[in-house]
């Protein structure tokens, strides 16, 4: 459904630091990365390694100190219609129904309500919530709420989908189901997906490539290409070997 080309991200010499307690804290240092159109890039790294910061810069919610990001050749300044973000919390508007929330992005962008809701109906069904169209967020489980957030992002048909630990708050069973759903959506929607997670298995299940942000400041980011056929099988020996390789990268194995 989404655009057939585009969604290519170029990151050049990207640096970002914060001042924390009066002292500068370098979070990202001269990061270089090319994200291919239509690929699924998963970012992992220790807590505080700058995963969220990187994603927020890609989203245009945060500005880089130096260096920058370009999408299909044009530099990023602020948010843009070709990108959508899925946060760890669903961030639904409690006064809108499921359908109203899914249509929200399109309505904000000026599409008439009826037309927006027509499109929203398609994506509400895509995430399996057709029967819950008229429910309010307080009536949903955590997994269902997050699916509404995903549908809302898909409805604006972005070229790039940015996800910051979207399944981090879900229980283990729901999470596996949602990972399968994300894999299916990604393959159907032909969208570039950049996703942060702290779950290595999730990373291997979904990623074309895994970006590992360094633990020590001054270390370098690493990329691991996951060459497994899809749909992936978590119990397969090569899947397990990738897991061991990532654990080694973290110095935990």
């Amino acid at each position: 459904m989404a655009s057939t080309s585009g969604g290519e991200v170029t990151i050049r010499d990207l640096s970002k630091s914060f001042t924390l307690g009066g002292r500068p804290l370098a979070v990202l240092r001269a990061l270089n990365l090319d994200i291919r159109s239509g690929e699924c890039l998963v970012i992992v790294g220790a807590s505080g390694s700058g995963k969220t910061t990187l994603l927020r810069i890609l989203a245009g919610l945060e500005a880089a100190d130096s260096g920058g990001v370009a999408i299909d050749g044009s530099p990023v300044h602020g948010v843009g219609a070709e990108r959508a973000v899925i946060f760890q919390e669903p961030r639904l508007l409690p006064w809108l129904t499921v359908l109203g929330n899914v249509a929200f992005g399109l309505e904000v962008r000026g599409m008439p309500k009826a037309e927006a809701e027509d499109k929203a109906r398609f994506y509400t069904a895509l995430v399996g919530l057709a029967e819950f169209s008229d429910a309010y967020p307080r009536q949903l489980s955590g997994g269902m709420a997050q699916r509404v957030g995903i549908a809302r992002a898909l409805t604006v048909q972005p070229e790039i989908l940015l996800l910051d630990e979207p399944l981090g708050a879900l229980d283990a069973m729901t999470k596996i189901g949602m990972q399968e759903e994300l894999a299916r959506i990604w393959s159907e929607e032909n969208v570039t997906m950049v996703m942060v997670t702290h779950d290595l298995e999730e990373a291997i299940y979904l990623a074309d490539r895994v970006l590992i942000l360094p633990r020590e400041k001054g270390g370098t980011a690493r990329l691991v290409e996951v060459e497994l056929p899809r749909p992936r099988d978590r119990s397969e020996s090569r899947f397990v070997r990738y897991r061991e390789e990532l654990l080694r990268e973290f110095g935990l194995h």
Binding site: L61, V79, A81, F87, R91, L93, F104, E107, V108
Partner: protein
């Protein structure tokens, strides 16, 4: 229509094999009675005790007249039209003041909640005004505006303004910044974010303010009508007491209670319609 309805209900046991309609009906009826009594039982007992102790002479019936005398006085006052004029003028005073408070407090509160600089600048004076009892200021308003309608409406307006203003401000400030950020990601302008996120998010808190203000409006109405008025429900309470028309005094008090209940109920049902999304109210 009703026959059809019964037929449908009769067929239910055939499918489910559960209780029959005959066994169902007394159970449902008794449940309704229990629910009614658990809600209104104490009120009914209170009124009954009043009626009995007054007509049996356990309390001074001149001070606490039996309920039926009060109801008669109420009926005569309404049917004869004497109380209707009082109700009209009281509603006009409270209504004008309440409407003015709404017109000032809600826009001002929405603005103050959004713009930090405005709130910072206005907060100290607001706190001082809020802590100063409107009743204490009534003499000042009388000096400024005279003893007529203007000072009465103004003192009610003054007292109702602050609960509404403060609740509107806090409603705006309570809106989750994460929701605003979400709207921004979809390209919402400041105005769109205000209309689609801030405003609906502040509505429940605004209603808390509206209900507080409505209660305050009636309170101040009575107080203002007890000083220098010759019409109005508050005046009737004082005047009837002065002339020792005790049943009429209670009739006026009953009307006041009724006005308060109606105002609150109107706001609650409006709130129910506007805030269906939030957890059930009360």
């Amino acid at each position: 229509m009703s026959l059809q309805h019964i037929e449908q209900r009769v067929t239910i046991p055939a499918h489910g094999g559960g209780t029959s309609l005959g066994a169902d009906f007394p159970r449902l009826a008794s449940r309704a009675v229990v629910r009614f009594l658990s809600r209104y039982g104490i009120l009914i007992a209170f009124l009954a005790t009043w009626q009995v102790s007054s007509s049996a002479g356990w309390v001074n019936a001149a001070v606490l007249p039996p309920i039926d005398t009060i109801v008669t006085a109420l009926w005569n006052g309404l049917a004869g039209g004497t109380l209707l004029g009082d109700i009209a003028i009281s509603l006009q005073r409270a209504g004008l003041a309440f409407a003015a408070a709404v017109a000032v407090a809600i826009p001002l509160g929405l603005f103050m909640g959004q713009v930090r600089a405005v709130e910072t600048a206005l907060d100290p004076i607001l706190q001082v005004f809020r802590q100063t009892s409107a009743l204490a200021l009534y003499p000042v308003f009388i000096l400024l505006l005279g003893l007529g309608e203007a000072s009465k409406v103004f003192v009610i307006f003054w007292a109702t303004l602050f609960p509404l203003l403060l609740n509107t401000i806090s409603g705006v400030k309570q809106v989750d910044p994460k929701l605003l950020e979400m709207a921004r990601v979809y390209g919402a302008t400041r105005l769109t974010a205000f209309r689609r996120v801030v405003l609906p998010g502040a509505v429940p808190s605004i209603f808390v303010g509206l209900r507080l203000s409505a209660t305050t409006a009636l309170l101040l109405l009575i107080a203002s009508e007890m000083i220098g008025a010759n019409k109005g429900i508050g005046f009737q309470v004082m005047n009837a007491q002065y002339n020792f028309q005790i049943p009429l005094m209670f009739a006026a008090i009953v009307i006041l209670a009724g006005l308060g209940l109606i105002a609150n109920q109107a706001l609650v049902s409006l709130q129910r319609r506007l805030c269906r999304w939030s957890s059930p109210i009360d």
